[in-house]
Amino acid sequence: MKVKNAVALVSLLFLIIKTDIVLGQDEPVFADSVSFANFLKSQGKIPGLQFRLVDSSKAYILDSALNRSLQSGIVRDFATALRLKDSVLRSYEYDLEIQYLIYSDPNTFKATQEYVSNLLRNGDIEPTVAGDSNGKDLISLASRNKYSPFLKGTYAYFSEIKIFAVSLVILLFFIFAFSMILFMLIFKARRNQKEKLLVLYDEQIVAPLSEILFEKTLEELESLSDEELNGYFPAKQLKKPFYVQVLVERILALNKTMKGDFKLMLKALYKRLDLDKSSLKKLKSSKWDTVVTGLVEVNEMDLTEAIYAVKQHINSPNFYVRSQAVATILTLSDSVDLSFLRDQTFPLSRWQQMNYLRIIKFLHTTRELHIEMLFDSRNQSIRLFGYKLVRVIGRVDLLETLEEKSGSVTEEEKIEIIKTFEYLGVPAHTELINGSLKSENIALVSVAAKAAGAIGDATSAKIICELLNKAPEFRLKMVLLNSLQNLDAAVYNQFINESENPEVMRISMHLSDSLLQDV
């Protein structure tokens, strides 16, 4: 992929290098002649501008040699001209004047000032400040100079804000990034340390666990004194939260892989170590993952006393808390009253259905379940789950109730009910299927048609033929033909033979290809 951090790099780069541009107007650039003279002194060479010393008043009688050298003595910067003037004054005592030449034409001081002002306004020359004595950098000088900006105010103002904002952002970013990286490094170090501790604790836990499990009886375990217990699991260690966490996880894991007496032993140990109390405390946590961890512990260790606390969570807005709470209640409660499931308000995802199904499937073998209760839920997803349960658990006895319901349910529910009928293969109830075949809903028709193939009757076959004559959509046509073949081979063959539709021919070939069965 192309997340380009370096856009930042390059574009940032080019942004601040360009510092400031000032566009002048026809306002006087120099406040007075003194400031102009000072400017000339510090600026050095200016394009098109030259100076020479002349004796314009003819006050002195110059010797011809000096005069000639003065005539040709054109200098390009004002400071030199001044120095020259001084030295002539000192050595010859002539006070000469400086003549200003713009492109070799003599001009007045005023005109020269105008010329230089124009150059500055157009940006043809940049003011340089010799010595930079005030210690300010170029940018601040540029923005502090006397030109008034073209767009009143904004540019000069902006340039300072710009620098400020960018440095601020960069600074913030650095602080942020460094703290993130620091955080990550600490996090990683702590994790590495935890991993090391985990190995250590694992080793520390294995031996006492094995001894207790293999050498003690359940009674002995329950009557262990605190000292004896601390002989196995030191009190000092039991104060460390991470040690306790590892211990809990290991006991839970063992409980999953062990059978018979060992399960009872592990549960007794869990309670003897007061781990059940910490599980209960977790249920009250404000962090969802802690709550779920607590729920899992309650569930695995059969902490039936926690049922009331678990019930508080069955309508939690958090998906995982809610799912685990429901799963826990299902496993723990003796009565297995499904009314709490029926009254759930959140839609049931397939993930939750899968988990509940596994538990209910297991419970079903030992206890009597009133699945039909779910059919009355106000929550459609729960009703649908109820219908699925009937078929997965194989509650043929509930089919009659289902058929009664089917008259007044949504089409989505009809689909699920029909699937249940088909799965259980009870051929008595064809009214629902034949009715659904006439529906406008293609999904429903398709499911009904498929079911008709397995549990339909002569009427179904007749309706299917009618549907086929209405030139249905390809996939439906295929389902219809397949069902017809299963229902009544004679009618099917007749239909195929009479049909001249190339699609029908292709489908019939498909249906008779042994390689393509149950794709």
Binding site: D202, I205, V206, A207, L209, S210, E211, L213, F214, R250, A253, L254, K256, T257, M258, K259, G260, D261, F262
Partner: protein
Amino acid sequence: MKKILIIEDDLLISSLVQFRLKKDGYDTVLVKDGNAGITAIDTETLDLIITDVMMPFKNGIEIIHHARKTKPEVPIIVLSSLGEEEKIVLEAFNLGVSDFIPKPFNPNELAIRVKRILKS
């Protein structure tokens, strides 16, 4: 003393099994992944192999294959979680493993079966 190789990625389970088998007077070698299992089969003198099916690097089936090929005389017990595909169970039996113990399991029961296999 009879030597038993235990290949199991969960250290806790293998340690428990080891503890239980030591009580019965067996010597045990613990390894926690398929590759180490293969090395152990090649280098150790073994009387029995107990292996898991789902493991890092090499799965149980590959280990059984390897053990059958190099040491056909060593009996194998497969220790495996339920819910794993029947296919694997069948494949394991076809390869001639001596026993198949599904998890959750009872270590005492495992010890009894080990004793029975090593006696015969």
